[in-house]
Every structure is written in C-alpha cells, then in structure tokens.
Symmetry: C2
Subunit: 457 residues, 2 copies
C-alpha cells in the first residue's frame, strides 16, 4: 500500500493547468501518474483520448450482481496566478502543520487521492471485495469539461450498467461537520467585449467626442444587479425552484456563524439578496458574477488614452431548475439592449453546466423510484461518517459546480453520492490553496468503511 | 548643417519611455543625443540633474537688448505598448511615403527636431542673428513633469529675463491649415482602487454573499457621467469660463467635417455634451475619462473567481479656469460618497496640470499689458505661416495638455507661442505613431522665417 501523502506530493508537482496551452507536460505527467497508480492497485486502465486532455477510465470488473460504483475525480487544476501572492511555490508541495500547500491540493488532487487510497486499503483488507469499481478521472474539469459530452455518448451504456457515482469534489463547512452534498449550482459563462474607436486615442486630442468603452462597459455591468443584491435581468429567477423544508432544516443543523464567516472572507458587510442568510444564499440562490475586467492602460503611472476596447468575464451560478443556455441568452439579450449607442458589442461564449440535485433516502421529495443501491450507498456513507467523525453528516446543497455530475444524470440517469472534503480555508481557485491532512486521513477511512458496508449488502 | 530626417531617425531609436524604470539607457541616450546636437550648432549646454530625468538648458547668449525666446520640447516618449498592434517596430524608425513611423516621431521628437533644425538654419543663414535663444528640453513630459516645479524655482529668474516661450507640441487639423494653439487643457489624474474580500474567492463556494469589487467599481464609474455625456460630479463645471466669440469665429474657419472625423476615429456616433459640436467639445469642454481598468482574471478561457481587487485609472482634462487640485478633490469626494458599503476605497494620486490660454494680439480680450515682443512673435509666426503654407493660421485652443506651459506662465509670467505640427493621423500616444515629413520641412522653414523676422524687429 502506497503512502497517500507522499503520493499527493508527487501529484501536486505536475502543473496540470488544463486551460494553459503551455502546460502540456504537466497535464501528461498528472495523467500518467494517476494511470500508473490505478494500475498498481489492480485496475485495468484505459486512457481515452479526447480532442484535448485524455480521460482515465479504470475498471475493477467482477460479478454483475455486485454493486457497481463509479468514482469520479479530475487531475487538472486551476491556473496558479497571481503567483506573487503565493507564500510557498504553487507546484512545490509544502507541508506546514497539518496542511499541504500547493495548487490543486484540495481541488481535486487531495480528495481524489483520498478516494484512491480508500479503494486501495479496502482491497488490501479484502482482495475479494464484492464490488465493481470504475474510476472516471478527467483532465478538463477546470475548463468546463468540453470533451466530456462526446466521451459520455461513447461510454453511456457502460455507465448505465453502474449503480451510482461517488466523488469528493465538494466542501465541508468545518473539520467537525461532514456534509454529503445534495446539490450543485450550474454554470453559464461568457465574456463581453466592447469596442469604441478603431484604436486607442489620445485623451486630450479626442477626449469629449466619443463614448469611452470602459464607460459603456461600466454602465452595462452596473445595470446587471439591483442595489439590494438581486440579479437585474428579466426572467433570471423565473425557473428557480423553491427550497424544500428538509433542506432548511439541514441547514439549521449547520448553525453557521456569520461573524466568523465575514472575518474569514475579510469583508466588512455581507451583500446578500433579500430574504436569505449568507449560508442560504450561497446554496439556494443563483448569481451573476464578474470574474475579471480589463481595458486600456493598467501599468504604473499614467497613460492618457481613450482605450479602443474593454472586456469583462461573466459567470452565472445557477440553481435548479434554471437552464444555462436560456440564462445565457437572457443575460446576453439584456446586455445587448442596454449597450449604449456608439460602441460595438461582442460576446465570446465560454462553457456551461446544468445545476444538480440529488435527494437522499427518506425525504419528503425522495423520488419513489430511487435505486435501492443508491439508497444503500447514502446510508453506508452516512454510517461511516458518523463512526469516523463522531457525528452524522448533514445534507446540503453547495454553491460550487461540477457540471458533469448533472450531465451524467441527464444522459445515464445515474445519481451521485458526494462526500465533501475541502474546508473553506483551503483557498480553492485562489493563491495558497491547501488541503487538511487530518481530513484526508478521515476521508480515506470513511470511504474505506463505506465500501465494506456496501459490499456487505 | 545636419540632415534633419537622418537625425530624427537617430533620435527615435532611443526608447526614451520616461515612465518605464527599465528605459534608463534609452532616456540617457536621447538626452545625450539632444545635448550633443545643440552643442554642435553652437549652444552652451547645461544638463540640469533632477530626481528623475535631467533637463537640458542650452543657451545662445547675446546682447540683452535682443529679443529672447525659450524653445521648449521634450525628449521622452509615451510607452509603446500594446506592441503587437505596431506594424513597424516602435523604436526602429521606418519611412513609408512621406511619413516616418516610430514611438515619439510626432510627440515630440519630430517637432522638437523641426525647431532645432530651424534654429540651425537661421544661424547658418546669419551667424550674427540678433536673437538670444534658450532651449529648455525636459525628459518627464509624458509623466507629468514631476521635477519641473523644482527646476522652475531655480531657473525662474533666468526665464523671467526671456520674452516668450516657443514650442511645437500641439496639433494642426490638416496639412493645409496651420493652427497657432491659443490654449491647452489642464489635467488631473488619479487611480481608484476597490478591495472586497481579503483574497480572490471561489465564485461557487462564496458567490452570492458579498459585493464583487468589479461590480462596486462599475457602479461608481457608471455614475460619473450623465447619459447625455456630461460629467456627473457636483461642482465640476462651476469654474468653466465662457468661450470668447473670436474663438468661435476662428473655429468656424476650420470648417471641420464631422463625417470624416467619425470615420477617422472609426466610431459610429459621436457622444458629445449637449450644446457643443465635436470640434467645440474637444477644445472648450472638460472631460472625465477612464484610461484603464483592471481586476480579476483577464486571461484566455475562464477562472471562476470573485476577485479581491479592481481598479480604474481616471484622467480629467480641464479648461480655463478649472483648478486641477479642486477638481481632483471634487471627483474623489463624489466617488467616496458613491462607494457602496462592503468594499474598501483607496486613491493613488497621479500628476496634474493647470489649463492654459494665451490671447493673440488685437482680440477683444487681449490683455492691455501684453508684451510687445510677444505680440511681434505672434505676428512674425503668422506671416511666416502665411508665406510657407500659402494660408494664414487660425488660432484655436486644443484638447491636449502641456502642463508646464501653464506652470511657466504662473511662475514667471511668460506666455507661449505654440506652432502646431502634428496631424490627427499621427497617432500620438497610440500604436503606429508617425510624423509627416512635409510638415517637418514646412515647419522648419516657418520657424526659420519667424526667427529672421523677429530679429529684424
């Protein structure tokens, strides 16, 4: 049995930034690393080529009567910039106290290795473990999984033969309280580009005769929210489903401390749509967020130009039952209608993903036809968490997105059991990302126990 | 006598970007080049050290009874970025047709060399030319001349002993119509920085609970203009002087073609404060312009962060009698009042400069105590233009700024005769800057004739 922490260090060292065309070696390194590790614990590994980054499909076959789970993860990571804000090198894993620092430590290399280690241990405990296990590990999660739909078409029948998906790519609120993630927000992303004059102009010689594209863009962006924090796009909220009462009850168990959360974020005041607490808003409400903006001179000192161009990167997080394509069209149409005369508007489409919900067994809105093995998996995970962490999990939707989970559900009908493993302080998608090694150890033990329980029937 | 075009090529090759700390060699090269050239035509050159880039003070002494002019220019240039938009290398002068391309070709290396060549020719014509001439050539014009006030304190008495300043750092509307610039806009520049959370955040995990700094910044910027194009800052226009009727008459002589101007800029529609034509607005109206904006992820693809910070670079162009410091305070106070709760606001102060007007002789508002030598200089320049270009000049204020001209006036009382030499298509402060060699030739001849006429009394 390998040492999970040593393996995680090795994994982090590959700079597998899927969106960066210069990260080819890092992507190949991470893929080969995972493939070899799965081979070493007895899986037959197929590296499925795609137009971009291959998908790893690794199987442990067995009796078709056994429960069959598909463990999902991704070997790609977010870009590490701004590099100057990292206190340790982004791709040189550094352990400080009970944390390992490095890009991807928590998203998703640490949690993925946690589950691989759990499988390895369970098979070491019982080489005849009566479970079929498939690993499905992609390399494009951080870029919206563009190759996944084609892969899904080809592998849909194989997936339909499985019982459920299991993954750890979501969060837990604190070290003492595990969450089984009951839903994910969807995504709709695109860029807005505004062009004024055909080139940058001297702001003295021509200032006062034309609309500055930064001004036009600011006016558009400023119009997309109401002062009270709601998205100001007609129709944006039309499809949003009401929150179930059991969901509110679960959230009450969380008992989040708003003051501590504000301090953690480093903000003086929350800015939440009316009628929601911060903890509710992040789970139950959709957003329209500006991820980046640029235009004109951004260097030191001054350059007195009227820039020719300005742009913003927009992402919407969506909740059930919002449709990403429809939301994208609504927001784009609103922007088009609000673009002032005298500038040109262009959109660059980015990726999108459906929101997802899975209802655990025994709730008011649990589907009548829920798969008995999925229900067993939920109960086994619940029991393992209660044993290992000394406290049962709560069931919460989360603000993040793993779009392929909804895509797998849509195409194959498979639901997912999501064991949240990263903490708010793990700094996902930000400088100084890290993963808690105690969580890793407990997570491994949780999944190991879940596997044995599931195997016992 | 040197070849002005060859010398201009040599001058452009020095990348003298004053705002760029890595351009030290280029700055020194340009300074040494100008100093040597002035020495070679008989001037005694003093290189006056400053905290940043030295000022060249070069004199041709003579009888104190002779008229004394100070020729101003600057050897620094704007940054050349975005470099990818240049069709020829920014610092490798390239002649195509009757134009020379390169950063600084028009602002201010070409026009400065035009005037140096004119002086060289006039002294070649008449080595005993009864004029005292001083060159005052700085290296910080493109960064707001931070060292100039201290220099001015030390050299104020020497400047007071002169009669007027002569310069070519302004424009002419087209090749057939020379303008003597009767006024310049002032400047007030600063940056706005908005900070939200203490670091970039995952837009899924935390989206919906806090105010995005890009949103806050957009709201602030969007509020700074009314939809009809006026600056929406209380008190901004209070000190603006009415336009004199002779100024409107001069502008009528220009007979600008709005359609052609719009095509030149590449815009579909003008956006001008009500009551002004584009040609009036750029000369008679103040502006508040956004020169740059930045925040969050600006690369390819997507990065779903809520950025911690966003900033904008703001510049106001001011007209008589607006006071830059007061305007800065007004705009900053307005921004402060409009900054929404939940984000932090900081300003980074940049430079500023007063607006300037000089009234030519024989106008309704010509000062009664106007210096007779200044009046003679205006008339000599007028006559030389009429002879060389076949058409008398018109007298117009211009939208650009040469802040030290107002500063010299304020401290020493000296006014300036400004012979406009760059054309709208010269692309100042923008990629593919160029200078028209016919204008250079005619400009040299104009200044040569002006010098002889002034010497004749």
């Amino acid at each position: 049995m390998f040492d999970p922490v040593e393996k995680l260090k090795e994994f982090i060292r590959f700079p597998s930034v899927s969106t960066d065309p210069s990260s080819g070696a890092g992507m190949r390194g991470a893929q080969t690393f995972v493939s070899s590790l799965l081979t070493s614990i007895g899986f037959s590994v197929e590296v499925v080529p795609t137009e971009l980054h291959p998908i790893i499909w690794a199987q442990r076959e067995g009796n078709p009567a056994w429960p069959h789970l598909v463990i999902y993860g991704h070997y790609d990571v977010q870009p590490a910039d701004p590099l100057n804000l990292w206190k340790t090198p982004a791709f040189e894993p550094t352990i400080i106290g009970n944390r390992i620092y490095g890009r991807g430590a928590a998203d998703n290399k640490g949690p993925l290795l946690t589950n691989i280690a759990a499988v390895a241990k369970a098979l070491e405990d019982d080489p005849q473990l009566p479970l079929r296990i498939t690993f499905l590990i992609e390399g494009e999660e951080e870029m919206g999984s563009p190759s996944f739909p084609k892969f899904l078409e080809r592998y849909a029948d194989k997936l339909r033969a499985a019982d459920f998906v299991y993954l750890s790519d979501t969060g837990l609120p604190n070290e003492n309280q595990v969450v089984i993630t009951a839903g994910l927000r969807g995504l709709a992303l695109f860029d807005v580009h505004i062009t004024g004059a055909k080139s940058d102009l001297h702001s003295g010689l021509h200032g006062g005769v034309l609309l500055n594209p930064i001004q036009a863009l600011s006016e558009i962006l400023a119009s997309l929210h109401t002062p009270d924090g709601r998205v100001n796009v007609p129709g944006f909220y039309d499809a949003v489903l009401d929150v179930e009462s059991w969901e509110r009850d679960e959230l009450k168990k969380l008992g989040g401390d708003e003051q501590r959360y504000a301090e953690f974020l480093g903000i003086e005041a929350f800015h939440v749509a009316p009628g929601f607490s911060p903890f509710e808003a992040v789970r139950f409400q959709p957003t329209l967020e500006f991820n980046g903006i640029g235009g004109g001179y951004q260097g030191e000192g001054t350059k007195t130009v009227i820039p020719s161009k300005a742009f913003a990167k927009i992402s919407c997080r969506l909740v059930p039952n919002q449709q990403p394509e429809l939301i994208k069209q609504l927001v784009m149409a609103t922007i088009r209608a609000r673009t002032p005369k005298g500038v040109k508007l262009e959109f660059v489409d980015q990726h999108k993903g459906d929101p997802y919900v899975v209802v655990p067994p025994d709730r008011a809105n649990t589907p009548a036809n829920q798969s008995p093995i999925l229900a067993r998996a939920f109960r086994a995970t619940h029991a393992a968490i209660a044993e290992v962490w000394g406290r049962p999990p709560i069931y919460l939707r989360e603000g993040g997105s793993v779009p392929i989970i909804a895509e797998i559900k849509r195409v194959t009908g498979l639901d997912s059991v999501m064991l949240g493993l990263f903490l708010p302080e793990d700094n996902l998608h930000a400088p100084n990302e890290s993963f808690n090694l105690d969580v890793m150890r407990k997570g491994t033990e949780t999944t190991r126990r879940m596997l044995h329980a599931l195997a016992r029937g």
